[in-house]
Symmetry: C2
Amino acid sequence: MDLKFKVIKEEKNTNARLGTFETKWGTHKTPMFMPVGTQATVKTLSPEELKDAHADIILANTYHLWLRPGEDVVDYAGGLHEFMNYKTGPILTDCGGYQVFSLAKPKDISEEGVKFKSHIDGKELLLTPEKSIEIQNKLGSDIIMSFDECPPYPVTHEYMKNSVERTLRWAKRSMDANKKRDTQAQFGIVQGGEFEDLRKFSAIETSKLDFDGYSVGGVSVGEDADTKLKMIEYATKYLPKDKIRYLMGVGEPIDLIDGVIRGIDIFDCVSPTRLARHGNALTLDGRTNLRNARFIKDLTPIEEECDCYTCKNFTKSYIRHLLVSEESFGQRLISIHNIRFLTRLMEDIRTHIEKDDLLEFREEFVKRYNKKSDKN
Amino acid sequence: MDLKFKVIKEEKNTNARLGTFETKWGTHKTPMFMPVGTQATVKTLSPEELKDAHADIILANTYHLWLRPGEDVVDYAGGLHEFMNYKTGPILTDCGGYQVFSLAKPKDISEEGVKFKSHIDGKELLLTPEKSIEIQNKLGSDIIMSFDECPPYPVTHEYMKNSVERTLRWAKRSMDANKKRDTQAQFGIVQGGEFEDLRKFSAIETSKLDFDGYSVGGVSVGEDADTKLKMIEYATKYLPKDKIRYLMGVGEPIDLIDGVIRGIDIFDCVSPTRLARHGNALTLDGRTNLRNARFIKDLTPIEEECDCYTCKNFTKSYIRHLLVSEESFGQRLISIHNIRFLTRLMEDIRTHIEKDDLLEFREEFVKRYNKKSDKN
């Protein structure tokens, strides 16, 4: 499915760009951030709350939904949108590769695919490019991902070269397996670790397959900050300018700005909801742990300037009480705020691409964000 | 505070009555059911969701809020309504007695009050009638409860007699301690276990203190069904007709109907949210455990005839998936339904008091409810 991606404007001083793409749900603005609904639910939140937090698109995990409830159950319901009653925006599904490698511990990687044990019941399973696409076809998401290997970090150049070549062969098989290209757009994935030649090879060769967009994978897997930025640069440099570029699994605020500066259009990360589970709120003054005793009588919202439901209605004092009392409404309130924080950040980023002062925006943002951040 | 309680109509064939009372939040119809917000939150739900589920009043627990966050924190926020941002209806606080006796295991009951250990940190604390009222004054609820002893079941007539007499002395002290009677209505509590003479004594003597309403306590503490009904009858028989009668801690659907038949106006129970945590939904066809495998592909709502957010938007298949995947959104969806089920039941009860056919309604309800109920 052609997403009709358009670059509306390129920022003067960086590789950042403003864009739009289309799905049956409407026109979507990039750069954008996708909250993650791992198990067909963005943890603790309703579809209406996601809309109110300006989440324009969400991600769901193929691996998790394959295991539970099973793609046939979702298909029987009429696809993920119907199953979740999420009717306000598109859903992207990942390919399952990352989870197979991180959660399930693969037993055996072969040309055919990956053998692994389910993290739920230990059952031995095989995920192949064809199977991943078949599951995603049944899940009925708007954008599906090709199946890739997500190698650990670091690995040798030789290991990565073999892996990237196999991922390319898997990309071709994934493309051939997609029976619903007319209704489900498909992205290819660029791997190659920290090796420029392999990122270049992966980007150029994957692009030849003419996907509807391209992901940069294998970032934020343990590498240092400089390496992370290089990985992104090595990939985006060789990707076509007229296709969406999606940086997978990255959600730290500063990383989002840095990704956009390097030409990324879409991001996803579990961070807003995961941070919330641990009581951490994202603010312009850095990450704040609301369990902290200093908030006991703090009658101000998480952020005075935030327009989210949480900040308009609840105090830090109350949210702290909910966290300390282990009431899940606390996680819910912080999740709403954290998602809105990131969608608001993307709005700001878009504004500053428009104004050609994204680097100045970055400088100001980083200065304030890093000043008082509770790192925990 | 005078609640301006009015009996609008008495049902012809039972002791059931339709009534209204007033608070600064509006006019409230009885019989009514109160969801419980133990720790200043009705578990998993927002204030808006409570309103949508037609919850007209909620209960908060003095014991829990005393321990966490502390009544001074709530007072500093401007009271419970401000603290929770609950602005759509009244809040009733209990006296803490039940929790002290059930959760904290009292160390020592004396004329002064009850010494016990906090269930959170084991700290030794003393709760007296004066302290309970002081806390409730600071919590700023619309209706507060006098401090009572809630004896275990069964106890001897002698034990209960001493306890009831002490609870009466505590009621007087509670009344004297209330510094905010002009803004906070106060209820007395009738105890006496299964002994008619003691219920009678407690009801008549407590009534003499001229509270704004009267609770029936010590019900649903382990007694059989017949004894439960007798306990209610023994108490309501001797309570003034022109004051609200509140049956504490009872929430089983059939018990609500039976309580109303015996002249009860208000009920509270944690059951709708507690059942939800275990995956149990209340339906006209009985309690249904939505984790059951038979719901895997069930694309119908919990109840076709229900008007709640959950039933209008989500299938049993999806809710089952959320429960099995341990996603708290599932508990939230069932909590909304269960509360709406009980508020809808109270609406039906009010309709049938109006029509003087409450006994026929009870018969039909029980027949259907008990037919297919999953008891688990």
